[in-house]
Amino acid sequence: MGNILEIKNLSKSYNGIPALTKVNLSVKAGEIHGIVGANGSGKSTLMNILFGNPIIRETGGYQGKIAYAGKSLQAKSCAEVIRMGMGMVHQEFALLPDLTIGENIKLGREETYQFTDRLFGKKLSFIDRKRNDTSAARVLKKLGIDVDVGVKIINLSTNTRQFVEIAREIARTDLKLLLLDEPTAVLSKDDASNLIEALLGLAKDGLGILFISHRLEEVQQICDRVTVFRDGAVVSQYHKGEISVNNLARDMIGHTVQLANATKRAMKTRPAIRFQQFSVAMPGEEIKDLDLTVFAGEILGLTGLSGHGKLALGYGLMGMYPVAGEVIYENKKIDTLLAKTNILKGMYVLPDDRQALGILPEHSVAENIIFTGNQVKDMFSRNFGRSFLGFIDQKKAHRYVDQVVQDFSIKCSSPKQKLKELSGGNQQKVCLARALTVNPQLLFVAEPTRGIDISAKEKILNLLIDINRTKHTTLVIASSELDELKRVCDRIAVMVNGSIFKILFPDSPDLEFGLALAGEEGTYA
């Protein structure tokens, strides 16, 4: 089959700083072409160019040739590209929260009543809700998920939203090329493999897919060809059969990664915290009647498919959502869960959604690191005038921040740099630094490696192990990356439907994890 997309000698620079240099790439009809690269390697720039994002023209356009479906592509706007049959699924969601799933998927292409079609014309015709919803449901089914299409987007978990977003694109009949930017980043392993199945099916029907992902196993699994980007240039290209995760990883970062690995321990110390019949009403991630004991000094992994409540535990503990049940911390029952008192008692929670909940993007690195310590514990206040004034002791703060930046090797031009200018990995380090400033006994971390490139991931994991071993901080890590949890944790609790289904150990067989995640009691000899 012929090439749908052909890129020749594509170069692009922002204010003289090259983002892409002489990129050659092609996508055939029915091919899944993978693109991998570390953060900042030029993947997003490529997407922006292909999809006619106005930012490209505003910053001076690009050099090189792009041919799409045999014609030269001169995209001026996203709308034009969409008309030509290209579809894109963004990292950030572009869905209307107040419309239902069905309405979102069929937006602009609604099924209408024929009678009113004739009466008022297609544009003013009444929408046939039933047919609309069944057709939307059919598309979702193709993707392997089963939800009520009448539910509003606002009530969905991020997981399901991702599916709806993809469904909206593939519901189009004129689709020739689909650009997927990290479609599985927010999905759990299980949902990701569902999606991959669906993508393989689509490719078989002749759709060209450009697939960007951080998850190298997936790329290895589904791509017909893979192009590796590093620093804005293509460093290597592999065909199906010669793709290996190790090679991809090596090409991406230019050297091999040392995987983080902790020695396993059997921890049966005193309980640090006990949850009894604990429920958290977090929409899309509910916890129902959970019973869990976390032992002092251990690293407990918390996994499960998304929507099954692994993220809600930390939020519930900090009083972000209504809770019920009992929490016993250090042998004392906690009556009301308030962030401030809990931090003072030695608990801390790092949320999964780093951009929305975890950082102050416009504040400096230093201000982010000392914020909680200063607010809750007055750690950097000058002593005069009691604490209600609380002017910061700049010298003390400087000394502390400089030390932390060095200890965690946070890459920034200076501690005064705005946090939003740092990469995901470094932002996560800043978050960890902020947590450690209040010296917690018990630290909840959710999705610590989400959206972080492969080499930074291992650094974060090593940092977590280090915190546990040297400071004896009890860690609870909620993550959908099972192999990471296996390398780091002492025990791994699998959650199904909002409560603990089974507690497994890192050396438990994969099959057992698989069954537990699906909520099935396995029978082993």
Binding site: L360, H363, G390
Partner: protein
């Protein structure tokens, strides 16, 4: 301040201002006197502009409910005048009364705004609007005794315009007035303004101030960090209202009259225009932006009056003023929405 960038609105306003200055020069107006006046105007209106900052920085948007604080300040002024307090003592007592009343009003206003989180601007507008008729009853029925405040005929109800001439008219304006030839610099007035700026600057360096900024930037983050969002927002709103009270006291002593009834209604808009001209986008706002904006806007107002009188019909001044004020707000709203989409 450290990363202040000049944006289209400032450029347009600066060009407009330069044209005005040029015209004033061509029309042979006394530029020195105009400059003297611009300084007075800056402080006269500038405190009201500063009053917007705490609410902007806590993420509650532009304080369209500024009339709440202004009304509180007016009551304070009336109490001081009722007791015939004069000079500095009178002025500071009126500040004192205003602060007490504004603290109470601000607390109520803040409680209300905390219940309409996310829609503070529109709610504030209507709270301000509904405050006015309510206060109109107060002005007519409140048992003030000073004859000079009351309607001359009937002897009941406050006059719409109460002269401050016998009490504390221009006490700040004339305090430490430095005269170099024709140049008059109101040092006392500027010092008072600087003091309020300094107070705000220090406030944002305190623990509560930092919590305020964090709440404005990322509320969920602040909540996870153990900050009581409701309390911090209330604090910022009370502070905003109290500063508005001070603002109207400064305004009145400069202007020479206490203006009652419907007057406070429209006073929020020039203040909001000013802070937008200064470069605020409805989120975190620097003190420098508020000062710059107040100066630019007030100087334009100041220059349009004589120039328009000279080359156009006199009534056009008021039209121009209103036009500038509202179109700047409209521009800012357009501009902000655009930002919202691209992010």
């Amino acid at each position: 301040m450290r990363n202040y960038k000049i944006k289209p609105p400032q450029i347009i306003i600066l060009i407009f201002l330069m044209i005005l200055v040029l015209l004033a020069y061509v029309l042979q107006m006394d530029l020195v006197i105009l400059f003297n006046e611009s300084l007075t105007k800056l402080v006269m209106n500038g405190v009201l502009v500063l009053a917007l900052i705490p609410m902007l920085n806590v993420g509650a948007g532009m304080n369209f409910g500024l009339p709440v604080g202004i009304v509180g300040g007016l009551v304070g002024l009336c109490i001081a005048v009722n007791f015939r307090l004069t000079g500095f003592f009178g002025f500071f007592m009126s500040l004192f009364f205003s602060l007490v009343i504004c603290a109470i009003l601000g607390w109520i206003y803040g409680r209300l705004l905390n219940r309409v989180k996310g829609r503070e601007e529109i709610a504030g507008t209507f709270i301000g609007f509904s405050m006015i008729p309510l206060m109109n009853y107060f002005w007519t029925l409140a048992p003030f005794q000073n004859r000079q405040m009351l309607y001359p005929i009937g002897g009941q109800g406050l006059r719409p315009k109460i002269s401050l001439e016998p009490y504390f008219y221009n006490v700040l304006d004339n305090f430490c007035l430095l005269k170099i030839g024709a140049l008059e610099i109101p040092l006392g007035l500027l010092a008072f303004y600087a003091l309020i700026c300094l107070f705000l600057y220090l406030f944002f360096r305190t623990k509560s101030g930092r919590a305020t900024l964090a709440t404005g930037e990322n509320e969920a983050f602040a909540r996870l960090s153990g900050i009581d969002i409701g309390r911090i927002r209330l604090l910022a709103i009370v502070l905003s209202t109290m500063l508005a009270g001070i603002g109207i006291c400064v305004y009145a002593q400069s202007y020479g009259f206490i203006q009652l009834y419907d007057e406070p209604l429209s006073m929020a808009f020039p203040a909001i225009s000013a802070v937008l001209i200064g470069g605020s986008t409805g989120r975190r706002t620097w003190i420098f932006e508020a000062v710059l904006g107040a100066y630019l806007l007030q100087t334009i107002y100041l220059l349009t009056v004589p120039i328009a009188n000279e080359i156009l019909i006199p009534e056009v001044t008021e039209i121009l003023r209103t036009f500038i004020t509202y179109s700047i707000i409209l521009y800012a709203l357009l501009y902000r929405d655009k930002r919202g989409i691209s992010h």
